[in-house]
């Protein structure tokens, strides 16, 4: 029975020494989706991706890609997976033409129009050496090398790393144009949330080696809410609320950001007896930042009577 998921992991775990860098991740990437794989630096995204490609051996757990065990990907299956690593590594002594010749030799199907289309989009010439390319140009070359075989599954590990906004936009647009083909699945990790918002329809969030979220983008957006409570005087301590991401108290107000708010949450807030409770709309970027940020309470008081000024 063919699965609806191109990538499935079950309790995928990786240790480096005693340090757990990926902890029991159960990932399921639907076929045909553009899947954003998010997390802060060191969360374990790249390690997870390398395990999916069989480049790193998991400590425990299993993973399948296109129905095949990641530990045993055959050359044919690898031909159906396009991978663009962060850092855009290509042998620096190669010219662009040599890089294309080298890569194309391995694939039964190689779309030269796509390859040269991407190169032309980035203004790359065949004779240029990789070592002379800027980061954006190198990213364009790597994208061309990855897209030309027209793989079923694209795995892009922070493809916009180190790119300026213009280069990043070029990369993103070329990705959008090329990936419009039906049934092509993209797993795409990034720190640039604006880019994520533009193209993904599903997200997974890795927080300190643990998978904290895996849902559609709309659901994610919907499940993060921010409330502003105003008080006549100093607001009380932020109560213990299930799903509290972080709370902020200032002179006359309390701002709480919550995941998965429900009626019980509202009751708890109401018991604080604020003057008003307002729900503030959060952009996706703000929602991500709040979700992936430090989960703690902060305070900042200006009034002299408190005698303290806490660092934000």
């Amino acid at each position: 029975m063919q699965s609806d998921y191109v990538i499935e992991t079950h309790r995928l775990t990786k240790y480096y020494g005693r340090r757990c860098v990926v902890d029991s991740v159960d990932l399921a990437v639907p076929k045909g989706s553009v899947f954003g794989f998010l997390g802060r630096n060191g969360a374990g995204k790249s390690t997870t991706i390398r395990m999916l490609l069989g480049l790193v051996t998991p400590t425990r757990g299993t993973a399948t890609v296109l129905g095949h065990n990641c530990a045993d990907l055959s050359p044919e299956v690898r031909g159906r997976i396009g991978y663009m690593a962060e850092g855009h590594h290509v042998h620096e002594w190669m010219s662009i033409k040599e890089a294309g010749d080298f890569q194309s030799a391995f694939f039964a199907h190689w779309n030269n129009e796509v390859y040269h289309g991407v190169l032309d989009y980035f203004g790359l010439k065949d004779s240029a050496k990789v070592k002379d390319l800027s980061r954006g140009e190198r990213a364009g070359l790597c994208l061309g090398l990855t897209l030309a075989p027209e793989p079923e599954l694209l795995i892009l590990d922070d493809p916009a790393l180190g790119l300026d906004p213009v280069a990043r936009r070029s990369l993103l647009q070329s990705m959008i144009y090329v990936t419009r083909a039906a049934d092509r699945t993209i797993l795409f990790s990034s720190h640039v949330l604006a880019d994520v918002e533009r193209i993904v329809d599903h997200v997974a969030v890795l927080d300190r080696s643990v998978l904290r979220a895996q849902c559609s983008l709309d659901t994610f957006r919907d499940r993060i809410r921010q409330y502003v409570l105003t008080f006549p005087g100093t607001p009380p301590e932020v109560p213990k609320i299930p799903g509290l991401l972080h709370g902020f108290r200032s002179d006359a107000e309390m701002i709480v950001t919550l995941a998965n708010p429900n009626p019980e949450t509202n009751l708890i807030l109401a018991r604080l007896h604020p003057e008003t409770i307002q729900e503030t709309p959060l952009g996706l970027e703000d929602a991500f930042i709040d979700y992936m940020g430090e989960r703690r309470e902060r305070s900042f008081f200006m009034r002299a009577g408190d005698g303290t000024e806490a660092a934000v």
């Binding site: 309790r11 902890d23 069989g54 480049l55 030799a105 989009y121 590990d157």
Partner: protein, 733 residues
């Protein structure tokens, strides 16, 4: 936008994956090949420059030695630089993630790397050969066999190449473990440089076996990426062999040190009486008895004609001639190892050198000719063959080489006789060659040269030439003898055969024969001895005159060599040597003796092992038990199946400390963390705890998790059923 012409050109000549890999490897590593080539050439040139590069022996020794050092260095350089720069994580991913098998990727690297290594080392060697082949550069002949030493050094560099690949691919926790695999190639290269491989095929075989084993081990790491399950079994086995071999090589000097003849705690000394027969200067047979702590006693056993005389003590003699062991089973005289230039162009010692002034003489075994080279011009000045000596400047219709003729090429075993006379064995012919006189004399054609195994110069005082009295009136002074397994032929200095003596008694009963030859009158004195195990049986002493007639054949007491016994030292030392010796060692010796040694369990090696002290064996056993237990515990720590634990326990029992070291190097030290359920430490790689059986729990949730898709939350708000007491203002954007 796309360049159609470029596209069509690309499509027209699309390379295969193999070719793409090879081109990529060549282009990326060509610079290292050039670097290696320059380094080897520079090193070789410097070595030759600072040596005597015009001398044949010195020249080839320098070439070979520079390659013995340079070839491994180049192999290490190329092997490391093919892997290390690509091991940065994402470049490695670019290399490895493609629709090509790991075997193809590895094979492409290996073929390219080895071809570079070959180019970097063979080109300088061929250059050296070309220079040496040019007349006037080196004062000796050129033969392609002279390059075999260099090729051997290059061959022994191949294991280094794969060893470095193995090292760079293997994630070892400790530096010692990481660098361990380089030990065996170093040891093998040393064996080769120390001329322990006498034949070229031995060197080829050993280097091929080592190289293949390392290649399989490296491929396993390339394929499996440090995962035991993904590594092919043959590669795992090869890795184990590599690591164990290196550990044994490292530990052997330690464990064998105390196992050398001076065993810590005891000593092997000679005790008891020993006897030895000598020939006095007057031709009498004397028997010397040595007793420890007492002066030697000499008895006269037989007179110069071999007649038994009453044992009469003689006063201590200042010197006597020992009988030379003769008519052994046929053996070849010492053959230089393939790395030696003497093997192909043996320098012929001529004396006195002032007779010749400025010439070096060589026996070219390949051509079967003696070649004379001028020391000044380093050019060939003459050839001496069975047809005589011909000077190089003599012109004629036939080539110099053809005119001189050939002794049987490749089969000559010259023995140096007298002053510059050389016996050359050529097929069924024997020649007496005099370099000094530049003359060749065919000796007695009736002797089958192929049967001759010994050439002995009777003028040497320590050999069978007892009591030679120079009688200038007689031309029948024995000068040398040729011995085969059944005959001894005695010759005068001018090549006349004076006497042939056949074996007198059966080899089965008297396997050992010793002989001395006296002159004036010419007599052959032979002592026939029984086998060592039957030393109580008397020997026979036979004297033969110059006409081959038996003068006498008498029975004489057997001579005994002194026994070796182990005497414990009366010193208070801690006897620790047994702790370093694996149980496999005595077992190995016993098996070896049973299967291969002619005397089986009575072999000297077995006797030496069994005659050790009980303490030594107790230590071996204790050490083996401890290592076996340790091995089992380490296997349990690794959470291996019970069967594997038992196998490792047996392995470490026999291999001892090297086995423990192998286990740690091969499997690594397993990481264990406290079980969240039972708090006892459990391996991280196993899902279920070996103590309580519980799986690793899922990560703790903190209520902020968002999984799945639902609209239920929004629906609740819309219906106003939130239950809030305060109005909620939903601020719209």
């Amino acid at each position: 936008m796309s360049t159609i012409s470029t596209v069509s050109k690309l499509a027209g000549r699309k390379p295969t994956a193999w070719r793409a890999i090879m081109i990529k490897e060549w282009k990326s590593s060509a610079i290292w090949m050039l670097t290696g080539l320059i380094l080897v050439t520079a090193g070789m040139t410097a070595t030759l420059y600072w040596g005597d590069y015009h001398s044949l022996t010195a020249y080839w020794e320098s070439v070979t030695r520079s390659l013995m050092l340079g070839a491994p260095l180049v192999a290490v350089l190329i092997g490391a630089l093919q892997i290390v720069p690509e091991r940065r994580r994402d470049l490695w991913a670019f290399v490895m993630h493609r629709p090509a098998s790991k075997a193809m990727l590895f094979g492409g690297k290996a073929i390219a790397g080895l071809s570079f290594y070959a180019a970097a080392t063979v080109i300088p060697l061929l250059g050296a050969a070309a220079w040496a082949a040019i007349p006037g550069n080196v004062d000796g002949p050129f033969d392609w066999g002279l390059t075999l030493g260099g090729f051997g050094a290059i061959l022994f560099g191949c294991p280094f190449y794969f060893a470095v690949m193995f090292i760079t691919l293997r994630p070892a926790r400790w530096y010692g473990s990481a660098i361990l695999p380089i030990v065996a190639p170093i040891a093998l290269a040393w064996f080769n440089s120390a001329a322990l491989f006498t034949e070229w095929w031995q060197a080829v075989s050993v280097s091929l076996i080592a190289g293949t084993t390392y290649a399989m081990a490296a491929y396993g790491l390339f394929q499996g990426d440090n995962s035991q399950e993904r590594t092919p079994k043959i590669s795992r086995f090869a890795a184990g062999v590599v690591l164990l071999g290196c550990i044994i090589i490292l530990t052997m000097p330690v464990s064998m040190q105390s196992n050398s003849n001076g065993y810590d705690g005891s000593q092997w000394i000679e005790t008891g009486n020993s006897q030895q027969y000598l020939i006095s200067n007057t031709g009498e047979l004397l028997r010397k008895t040595t007793t420890e702590g007492k002066p030697d006693v000499f008895e006269a056993i037989a007179d110069s004609q071999g007649r038994l005389i009453k044992r009469a003590p003689v006063s201590r003699i200042s010197s006597g001639i020992q009988l030379q062991s003769i008519m052994e089973a046929p053996f070849r005289s010492y053959i230089d190892p393939y790395t030696s230039s003497e093997r192909y162009a043996a320098r012929v010692g001529v004396a006195p050198s002032h007779t010749f002034g400025q010439q070096n003489w060589y026996l070219d075994r390949t051509r079967g000719q003696f070649l004379a080279y001028s020391r000044k011009s380093r050019r060939l000045v003459g050839i001496l063959g069975p047809n005589g000596y011909y000077q190089a400047d003599q012109s004629g219709p036939t080539s110099l080489e053809a005119r001189a003729g050939h002794f049987t090429p490749g089969n000559d075993t010259p023995g140096t006789v007298g002053t510059g006379g050389i016996i050359v064995l050529g097929g069924s012919k024997l020649y007496l060659v005099s370099i000094a006189d530049q003359q060749v004399r065919l000796l007695d054609a009736g002797i089958d040269a192929g049967d001759v195994s010994q050439v002995i110069n009777l003028s040497q005082p320590s050999t069978a030439g007892a009591g030679i009295k120079t009688d200038t009136r007689s031309a029948a002074v024995p000068a040398f003898l040729l011995a085969s397994s059944e005959n001894v032929h005695i010759f005068s200095s001018d090549g006349r055969r004076l006497l042939t003596v056949h074996r007198q008694l059966s080899r089965k009963q008297y396997p050992t024969v010793s002989m001395a030859v006296t002159s004036s009158p010419l007599r052959v004195l032979s002592l026939y001895e029984t086998a060592p195990s039957t030393q109580s049986k008397p020997s026979r002493y036979i004297v033969i005159d110059d006409r081959g007639r038996h003068l006498n054949n008498i029975e004489v007491p057997a001579q005994h060599s002194s026994d070796l016994v182990e005497v414990p030292q009366k010193q208070h030392r801690i006897h620790l040597e047994g702790l370093a010796v694996p149980m496999a060692y005595p077992v190995f010796v016993l098996i070896l003796a049973l299967l291969f040694m002619p005397h089986g369990l009575s072999s000297a090696d077995v006797t030496m092992v069994l005659n050790r002290s009980h303490l030594f064996f107790s230590e071996i056993l204790v050490s083996a038990l401890i290592c076996g237990i340790l091995g089992y515990l380490i296997a349990r720590r690794c959470a291996l199946p019970k069967r594997s634990c038992k196998a490792w326990a047996i392995g470490t029992f026999f291999l001892g400390l090297p086995g423990i070291a192998l286990m740690l190097a091969y499997r690594g030290w397993p990481v264990r963390v406290p079980c969240p359920s039972c708090k006892r430490k459990r391996p991280i790689a196993q899902e279920f705890c070996e103590h309580c059986g519980e799986p690793f729990p899922a990560p703790r949730m903190d209520g902020t998790e968002i999984f799945g898709d639902s609209d239920s939350l929004q629906t609740e708000f819309d219906s106003g059923n939130s239950g809030l007491m305060m109005p909620v203002k939903e601020v719209t954007r």
